[in-house]
């Protein structure tokens, strides 16, 4: 048996980092953190959790992507970057340059437009450094399917980034 405070204590930094990286501000990341832990808590009523860190990381990625899609619905893909990051962090700006910050936001926007599984696979592979096998276990799919998802995700992201960049230049 494990107690809940210990689980929260051991995993809160992992969940926070995942949420913050994708959402880019305190308020959304904090909401995502709460949703992640509460989703996990609900899950314990249905099944026994064997690997808490893996579960929470997957849930955090999924919830963060959900929030990105919500933003997409609210602000649309054609809105300015400023609106995307309207609820910004109260801390000193994390981005070293405005260009880097803009590119991050573009990628977030693009991720929000991907099918959920592709976006999830991309984040787990390229942001959380999970192996194909680990991603397959997380997503309960075959490792070969992970490769397909990643290939499609990259192709779509490339197109989205390129088109948005072209749109901005116009």
């Amino acid at each position: 048996m494990t107690d809940w405070p210990s689980i929260v204590d051991e995993n809160r930094q992992r969940v926070w980092r995942t949420a913050y990286r994708l959402l880019g501000n305190d308020a959304d990341a904090a909401d995502c953190l709460q949703e992640t832990f509460i989703s996990a808590l609900r899950l314990t009523r249905r099944e026994v959790i064997r690997n808490w860190p893996a579960l929470l990381q997957r849930l955090a990625t999924t919830r963060a992507l959900d929030r990105l899609r919500q933003r997409m619905r609210l602000y649309g893909c054609c809105e300015t970057i400023g609106e995307w990051s309207a609820v910004s962090s109260s801390r000193p700006g994390p981005d070293h340059t405005a260009q880097a910050s803009e590119l991050c936001q573009r990628l977030r926007q693009a991720l929000a437009q991907l099918p959920a599984k592709q976006a999830q696979a991309f984040c787990l592979r390229f942001l959380d450094d999970l192996s194909y096998r680990e991603i397959a276990q997380h997503m309960q799919i075959k490792p070969e399917a992970v490769g397909v998802l990643l290939h499609r995700a990259r192709s779509q992201l490339q197109q989205l980034l390129a088109s948005e960049l072209a749109g901005n230049r116009l």
Partner: protein, 318 residues
Amino acid sequence: MAPIEPFENDDLLEQATRDLRRTPIPEEIPADAIKAVLTAAPENFKIRSRSAFAERIKILKNLTKIAAALIIVTGTIGLFLLFYSHGPVRSPFTRIVEPLLAARTATFKVTFDIEGSPLQTHDVMFMDPALLRQTWTDFIQIMDFTQGETLTLTPEQRFAVLAKMENPPSNQFNFPKIKELLRQAQQNERAMVESLGQKQIAGQTAVGYRINHPPMEMTVWADADNQRPIRMESSIVTEGKKRSAAIHDFVFDIDLDKRLFSLKPPENYFVIHHPNPLSPPFWKELVDPFRGSLKAQRDVQQLPPVMALMMVRRIIIL
């Protein structure tokens, strides 16, 4: 941060991903969020855990679960049929000796072959746990191995010797002792039992096994078709002479009257009570006075005790 795999011809995506990975993340998590998470669980809430085995089963694919279940069910049914329809798996030797070990009563013949002496056959009755009645040409011997007593009767002369059996000689060929040896062999089959293959015994094809139990050696022969024991042979070499005995013509579990094994001498019999007919004092007291009459006294001492007793009886009567 670990390097990520290169994006082929995809500089913009690679750049964006790298920037996102490098996004500075504040160390401090809003306290309200953590408090909300901690209070989301009821007080004293405990997370259920499950054994690794149960968990492993749970994560198996459905097809694997079905296959495993089928194997378990088939195996269980197979074991059930094996044990309850045909009995447990037993070695051929075990099947052969089982009737001998399980017999409540038995009758059989014993043939002694002692080097330099003619063959002697007598009838034997056995009753569980350790009663023997041996009928020789001239006398009957009843032995109770549980009480350690023996009664020898010569019906013609109405003569009875009632005695204690203390430390019976190791070469004494008695059925309870054979049963004990068979039981030992059954439990240590690998070490004690050797297959002898097949041979013909009185027109029957028999399978044989040798039981090594130095200095004694025993063979068991059984009908090759039904595994019923048909002959047991035992031999021992003492004082340079080979003594053999064969048990044959088995009949198991027939009704025998327990009075046949009574150690009470019949009325009108002349009874000699002696502590041990097989002990040296017996020979000293009974044989020595007749030493002059015994031309082959040395040979008498080398005979099985019952045969020696028979000769002694003849001497006494004479």
